[in-house]
Amino acid sequence: MYIATNTHILVAEFDYVEPTTLEEVFWHLSEHGPQARLIAGGTDLLVQMKMERKNPACLISLARVLELQGMTSNSGLTVGATASIRSLARSEPIGRHYTALAEACNAFSTIPIMVMATLGGNLCNASPAADTAPPLLAFDASVALVSRAGQRVVPLEDFFLGPGQTALRHDEVLRSVHLAESVRGAGSAFVKVARVAADISQVCAAVRVVRDGDHVIDCRIALGAVAPTPVRAHRAEAFLTGQRPDRGRVDDAARIAGEDTKPITDVRATQEYRRHASRVIVRDALTTAWLRAGGRELK
């Protein structure tokens, strides 16, 4: 990086277009080739451009594309890619049925960022610390990717390939995110640890449990900022599924989840701290989700 790199002057010169339909977006994508980039809220991309990590020749804004907006419930919930984090944080159905996602959106930095940032941008930026990713993984979300060639649906778990890397092809647009239908006896929770509220997660975790009587009959545990991508803690999920949870079991599941993390050290936290804290927050999230699922206080 050049020493003069700064957030005051955006050095790169680029074209900017504001299409209103997906068809026009595809046209611009093919016209400008790999030099083009989609921009939604810009809260990741513009920062990266100012820091000179990305240098697109053309920005294609998604802000006016109607097909990417809105929220519909249809055996689950489909959320348009450009839905703002703030709209999800304030959505009544999300708060009720997808509590962990609402919690993640409410813990999302500051209000100005929440208003600008979009769900699609959070996923396509593919930061290991993207706060909406763990809850979406916990809700078995899938993403609809569209191009001129048509639409394909990819489970979110297969979407993230590495830091900044996704299954998205250059000619594709993330159109919407689908969350599986909420079931009876389910409860979820999201917990984030950060240096201050207006910060990216040091670690975050989302949990969804489905309860039948005193048993966990289904369980999803997902973590952020502990590996190159947001990850599911499959071993810990399996450990709890079919079990009657008590404090010891929940602690053990959390320990297993912590053991399976591969965190790094950066300015926000050390590797050791991340591993330790993931165990703590998985335990906390499991406990809260269990109570929200109507489970009895753990002994």
Partner: protein, 807 residues
Amino acid sequence: MTPAERRYMSSDELRAVGSVAWRKDGVAKVTGAEQYAPDIALSRMWYARVLRSPHAHARITRIDTSVAEALGAVCLTFADIPKVKYNERIVSTPPHLYRDRYVLADKARHVGEAVAAVAAPTEALAEKALRAIKVDYEPLQTILNAEDSMRSGAEPIHASVRLGDAEIPIENNVAVTRSIQVGDIDKGFAESEFVIEREFTTHPIYHAQMETKSVVCRPEPDEAITVWATAQSIHNVRQLLGEIYSIPLHKVNVRRVALGGTFGSSIQVNSVIPICVGLALRALRPVKLVSTREEDMYDHVRYPTNIRLRLGLKRDGTLVAGHMRAIVDIGAHNIQAFPFLGVLAGFWASLYRLPHMKYEGRAVYTNRTPSCAMQGFGAPQVTFAVESLMDEIAHELGMDPIDLKLKNYVGLGGTFWGHGPTVQSIVRSDGVPELVGLGAKKIGWKERPRPGSQTGRYRRGIGMARGFHTSGVGHPKATGAEMIDYSGAFVKINEDGSVDVVQSLMDHGGGTLEAIAKIVADELGVPLEKVGLSPVDTRTTVYDVTTHATRGVYAGGAAAQKAARKAKAILLDYASRLLGVLPEALVIEPDVRLGQGVIHCPSLADRRITVGAVAKACQVNSWGTIAAVESLRQVNCPPAYVTYFVEVEVDTDTGNVRTRRAAIGSDCGTVVNPDLAAGQLTGGLSKGAGYALIEDCRWDAQTGELLSRGFWIDGKTPSVSESPLLEDVHTDFAKTYEPSGPFGAKGLGEASTNPCAGAYANALYNALGVRFYELPVTPEKILAALQRKEPAYDARDERRTAVAPAR
């Protein structure tokens, strides 16, 4: 403002002082109309950018600006600047002013050091031109800590610096040392019955003021320059520019613009100012230079310190002897190391009475971002060390920390060192016992847990620390001062009875000028609405040293009061002609109905006239304008005491610390701006919590780059989300009156944060039974400490409850 909205002080004559009023700059600020340095836009103006060194330590062997010039930019390099070594902080008197830098560097001494600069018609072109400059560097050994720097054989960072008219050599990279001794510590420690020694480490943090350092310079047709700059003193900017560029002072005009916060970051004449002037003089057109956030972060940090403190006491808690050794990493330039070493000693000596004390301070150059004053200038560092150690001593001796402190503190009649060993005066107002009592009651001090007695996941603790800041650096001695300290003001009564206050004092945003208007209103006896704060510059004002050292109201306000008093004498003289009453028999009082000051004679009811009528009569009769100009140097430096009580809640599983409640007490004498004063205290808590728990500047050991590389998204400061609810922060003001201050006022600003880190450290001890000697106390450090203390510490502990309490 309605009369009912006013809150009067106990004394009847005080009207504006102590009232809650609309700020005079309030509408401009909330509507965005206020002009800060970066808002200045002039015709024909060009934009500047500064090329900064990517190396922490390197010789500069060649600079090629040809490509940049071919792009149409004007360039400035070391070859083009006057070879004047300067120090940007020109308030130290000449025998104590260490000058070690040029407008542009002769050698790169830290990453971010200004090496060259460009100006171009647009900022974008300036950026392009900047990147076209080629610099050849010859890297030298990079030294990033004081220990390495003092080692023999370490690469010299400065071979020599200027002091007075001499060039003095620098040995072992030690910029300056100071030793101070009172009594005989050998005797003192021999007499002590309890001796304790601890080492405290405080870290550098970035000021994080909102406005980045900026400047606009316009060369004038008569070879003069006009400058708008982010500055805490416009007169110092003028004098330094005159010195560097050999321009007579009447041709250097610096205009006051609003300041977007400083926390001390512009206490010196910012190094971008002479760079911008150099470019403007070369380009022969106005040039604007706005620092990027990233270069601003590479410009300055709070002084980090390493303090070894040894204290000796009698068993009954009476302090007998103390020995402090301080090593201060000043970074690449000596901005104010000499006074800094002095205040470490002085603030220490002023916290608790020490019959025998010895202080040894060393300031060391390294290749880090230069250290500069930040809110508290040495007091946050020393107070953290002393207040932590006093708390520890109290526990060792089985005393209540409050009792130990009240037994030993420097209060009424004691000697207060406002700014090192040469700035001393006797304490004449002291609200400490009152504030300690109030705070203890509000926080529930007596009910605090026993240290280390809790075992659950969430543990609460209450900590107390006290301290102060000086109010200015005035003292009684006529000569031999280390620091300049005086203010001036010009007060003019207009022909309608309104008043212009023409004063070069700066307001950081905290309401200093608002206080000035209130003081002038009350001194003259006119309504606050009738007092105007003139836009000013250096040509039309008398000198004011700087708004620093918590002196704005105490010293700047006293100067304004003195000028107002003189104008009032002239006014009464004229009024006596008109009323046929001796001036001594007249009084002035604001009349809310008339919206005017009214002059009347209490003994003769029919002799009444408004201030406006007198001023108009002066004009109509050609008697002259009623006006006065005065300078004033305070001969005291009263302590602005502050007490802190904080309650924290530690999540022992994540190490996170939450501030639950705080009770902050201030003794600022008469409270001039009650709402703004309370705001200073809550702000001081937020800033102090960031210092104690979160913020840190660290550098890459190889490259000398900031780990954040200057990007604010990686450096964090607490926001309102980290603060307790406002109803859980109690702010109290002592009912004191400072005899030497304007209407009994003394300082407040810096004091509001000084004891904060100590209070947190003590609260953490109370919660966890563990002492922290190193700032910041991060979650990682808390977990590590708990693991050491409780080896069986495990997140699986049965007694823990996993559900977090509601926020």
